[in-house]
Amino acid sequence: MEEVKQVRDLEYLFRPKSIAIVGASESGLYPAGILRNLLRYGYKGKIFPVNPRREVVQGLKSYRKILDIEEDVDLAVIIVPRGFVLDILNQCAMKGVRAVIIITAGFGEADEYGKQLQERIMEFARRSRIIICGPNTAGLANIYDNIVLTHRLDPAPIPGNVAFVSQSGALMTAMYGIFREKDIGLSYLISTGNQADVELSECIMYLVNDKNTRVIAAFIEGLKNVNIFLNAADLALEKGKPIIVLKVGKTRAGAAAALTHTGSLTGSDAVYNAVFKQKGIIRVEDIDELVDTVKVFSLLVDRLPKGEGLGIISQSGGLASLMADLCEDLGLNLPELSDETMKKLVTMDELLTFGSLRNPADVRIGGTTAAMLPRVIEPFIQDERFSILCILLSRPAVGDEDAQTASTIVEISKTTKKPIFVVWVGRRIPDPGSDLDAQPYRILEKGGVPIFYNLKSCLKAVKHLIDYTKFRERYMQSSKVT
């Protein structure tokens, strides 16, 4: 095993008070994009473009060299061809720069020369103690401090409680788009690149200690420093910050040389799985499940379900049956309605129950109108068998008619601590020219009610929520005993 690296303070990387952009320019994905994003999103610190061929870049004075900057530089972002990177790093050391992001690609992931260069960067990091993110990173963003150090982040980010750290740069950008579309607020976005120095585990540790971050999502190819990762996972459990991972690479490790049964029985992905299970880390299998899981945790992390019982109120009988089947497959617990709940519901003539209801409860369109829904949901909220409630809708999620239902759900959700989520199966693209934010599905998204469109990934996400809650309770109890 490798030696345990001490956890370093990454403040200069993530919250710099001054930033130099070496290679800043008027055009080019990163050379123009990073400076533009700092200006556009209102970074409060000092910005120093460095470009020997220009006097001014995007309206700011440009410096010939980083050493020409009179003031202190906390962070340097390097966007120059790979052959110049080491020279720039040496200048950064002379200047007293604390942290560096190397955007430039063509290192460990590329040819032999690139690998050699990366070795030298690693050597430089050890010697200089400068914190280095990258190379070959898509950059990072600290949303609360308006520090957007990547090429593209639009529309403007919404500050929130989710941090996403990725070993794939392209995926960081892609996931930003999806999170933004669903109004999932973010604290940090981090692309770790080739991890010549700063590694994913260190980033997770930083995020566990970050006050704005409540939910940590990660795209993992492999871990370098497992000790920091395990410590971060323990601390995250104690603080109640769920870690959700999408890990790729299920190949078996070479176990051929093993001398015991034990040694030959398993591959490395199985060990990852075991570690995730042991530390309450939520493993998801694809992008949809990642997004839905992040969403459910982001919105419900402070109102976790007190038990396992799921109550479903459905607008459609068909969807009710489909949900029941999926819940069964996933091991979700659908308790029967209590006699009292049943009595309250079957006496509501609008529901057309004809005397009997089950869970999922098919209350038809009559039971999900803005007028009826508060009355229908009340018995479910009172019924202790249910710890989490689902409203399952099948009418169009656009148009004026269901906007009131959506607003009503937002109101109901505010009046109870019991977590409520919505699954909406139906049309979602409104008529051309209509106000997007007035659409029912958007009312829910903006109202902070978890709304899902995919039954399976939604139910998987809810299962993760229930399992995590249970696991954490057990963990806290057992850590008290030992």
């Binding site: 095993m1 492999g222 871990l223 497992v226 395990l230 490790a253 040389a257 093993a258 001398l259 015991t260 049964h261 034990t262 040694g263 029985l265 398993t266 490395s268 199985a270 060990v271 990852y272 799985n273 075991a274 570690v275 299970k277 042991q278 057990r474 963990y475 057992s478 850590s479 005993v481 030992t482």
Partner: protein, 225 residues
Amino acid sequence: MKALGDSKILSYKESVNILSRYGIPIAKGDIATSPEEAVEIANRIGYPVVLKVISPQIIHKTDANVLKLGVKTESDLVNCYHEIIDNAERYNPRAQIEGVLVQEMIQEGVEVIVGIFRDQQFGPVILFGLGGIFVEVLKDISLRVPPITRYDAEEMIKEIKGYRILEGFRGKTRSDIEAVIDVLLKVSRLSVDLKDIVLEMDLNPIIVGPKDRGAKVVDARLITL
């Protein structure tokens, strides 16, 4: 991490020494290097006994025909002793033979395996499974990284598909699951303390008796760096 080439397979006695130090229960028995010694040991622990040839080169004792169960008398024991030594020599003429283990015959129980192996990323990992075909064919195992808590140990046991066999089904009695938890926790302690020494370990099988009757290691193999 050192290469496997530098590793060493501990003798039965060395292995038993380490396991006892951690309070891991082992079936009664001792190594004999002559038929006379074997008789003496059998008299001490009482018949019936189990005989098996102990050799670092012989992992699968059944394949090599060097295992005799339920040996009931002294004359049986002497005959079996010679037979399995011959079998061992035939199976692998270059096998170094530490001796013949004369062990108490445990009558009733479910076989489980507990082991340690080393993962490149996570270091020592603890493995649990039901013995025999359950691990070898079905790979029905659970893993955890030490140190483990009691809760982890419980979850490890419940996680395998064969858990129902330990719980007892169709009239079979429930196994002593508490005893398995105890072994797992002790193995966890061992693996943390000796993480720079122990490369791999097999406690295979451990025979788990019915509820409150304990679990005993019947065969052990430790590989050190």
